[in-house]
Amino acid sequence: MNVLSFDATARKAWMGLLARTAPADLAALMPDLPEHAVLRGPEVGAVMVRGRMGGSGQPFNLGEMTVTRCSVRLVDGSVGHAHVQGRDKAHALRAAVLDALMQTAEAEAVENRILAPLRTAETETRALRAAKAAATKVEFFTLVRGEDK
């Protein structure tokens, strides 16, 4: 099996990025898939999202979200998994194949060609949203009152 060493933190990061990305953006960057065998799914289901009481206390069930999961094996034996938000099966399949590819010698090429542009786009979207929020931050000023004179 041709599996390169990679750490769980890095894997967590790319899996999260692939889960959050819009299906169309991923499809545009990755129109074709390498040969693979599907081990599971893609299957649409629901995940119960939990919150914390008071924002910091014990958990409670907030409501569900749709999630699609998929597992694949590449020709070299690398296994990839994906859990992505929404009901797009092609999205979950692509994310699982990418997860597997990131464990092979092609990792660097995949990172540069697909993950980096997705990450840049996400960072830009987040920065723009934060900048719009910052523009609505209230700058208080105190009026000079008569008795202060």
Binding site: G16, A19, R20, A46, G63, H83, V84, Q85, A133, V138
Partner: protein
């Protein structure tokens, strides 16, 4: 005598066909797309997700289109759909302290770390109809300002440092799930919060308003209201670690409530909590007031007999799908039940008239 009656298939088919035609409306007006509903009727989409208890904006938008804009009907469609989905698991609790906020205000502190961020709010609009919206036009881009991507701290966490506010009980116990086991009374706070967050906005609003008017008053301040996105993370057994499976937009409201102390608790501020899918601040504020009112027992407060303190009354009437189902079923055929009533009333009338005649 009971006679089974069949029929009406043709009438029902025709009714459905007409419904589809009415849904489409005048064909000289262009058809509304699901994407347009998702993008431009966002707050309706959010309400359907919150009360449908399923975060999926595309599905909520489709449900609104199918329901011709009847939001309770749309919520019904989402509730029905979610029962068809296998449950893949449960997330770790979302960390709202790490929320990427688009709105964050406090009614208790003017100058607080992170500042007062108004976000895309209706609050300071004049509520005058804007006829410019009746014409198509370009919208100018919203202004931007240099921003920090740091998380903004919770106001209650700051109050908590001084011991002035009650601390939330810690732990990671698996919470009860009313979609899995029927709700049993008395309930616990996690079950109440689940029921309220998916409860009808109008009902929760009215319950909260009743506490403000004196029926179970809780002296609430909005310590903090925040809207933004949080990451949803789930443990994946085959990986042995947790990964982000997406992100959701949430509205969180924390009330800080005056509390003079009780038989069991010292004087300190207490909390009410609201957390709702989407940008849904009326609901989140209302939820936090109702949550606080229902905590009277654990805080050792008096039960004043107010409706908002009665968990059976609140929780058993908050769900608009249950309510609609029971309310609207009475319009369906009850011919046999009514026939029995008719016979009974006739019999009673005969007896009453016979007695009156005998008395004369």
């Amino acid at each position: 005598m009971y006679v089974a009656v069949k029929g009406g298939e043709k009438a029902i088919d025709a009714a459905h066909a007409w419904l589809a035609e009415e849904r489409r409306g005048d064909t000289s007006v262009s058809e509304l797309s699901v994407a347009q509903i998702r993008q431009q009727l966002t707050l309706a989409v959010n309400r359907v997700m919150a009360e449908g208890s399923l975060y999926d904006p595309d599905l909520a938008a489709l449900a609104i289109k199918q329901a011709r804009g009847d939001l309770i009907e749309a919520i019904f469609l989402i509730r029905a759909y979610r029962t068809t989905l296998p449950r893949l698991g449960a997330s770790t609790p979302v960390e709202t302290a790490q929320m990427a906020v688009c709105r964050r205000i406090s009614a208790t502190f003017k100058d607080l770390p992170g500042g007062q961020i108004l976000g895309p709010t209706f609050d300071y609009t004049h509520r005058l109809l804007d006829f410019k919206l009746a014409a198509e036009g370009e919208v100018p881009a919203a202004p931007t300002a240099p921003a920090s991507l740091d998380a903004v701290p919770h106001v209650t966490a700051m109050l908590n440092r001084d011991g002035l506010i009650q601390t939330e009980a810690q732990g990671n116990a698996t919470p009860p799930d009313l979609t899995r086991e029927p709700m049993e009374l008395p309930t616990t706070r996690p079950l109440r919060l689940q029921a309220i967050t998916r409860g009808d906005e109008g009902f929760i609003l009215s319950m909260a308003y009743s506490t403000q008017r004196g029926y179970g008053r809780t002296h609430a301040f909005v310590g903090e209201l925040r809207i933004g996105t949080v990451a949803v993370e789930m443990d994946i057994p085959e990986l042995g670690f947790s990964v982000e499976i997406g992100e959701v937009e949430l509205t969180e409201c924390e009330t800080v409530n005056q509390f003079k102390g009780s038989k069991t608790e010292p004087p300190q501020f207490t909390r009410g909590y609201g957390l709702v899918f989407g940008q849904t601040e009326r609901k989140a504020i209302a939820m936090s007031l109702v949550d606080r009112a229902l905590r009277w027992k654990e805080l050792g407060e008096d039960n004043t007999g107010a409706p908002a303190q009665d968990e059976e009354f609140v929780l058993m009437h908050a769900d608009n799908i249950q309510a609609t189902g029971f309310l609207e079923h009475i319009k369906l055929p009850h011919y046999v039940d009514f026939q029995a009533e008719l016979e009974l009333v006739r019999k009673l009338r005969r007896e009453a008239l016979a007695q009156a005649e005998a008395a004369e």
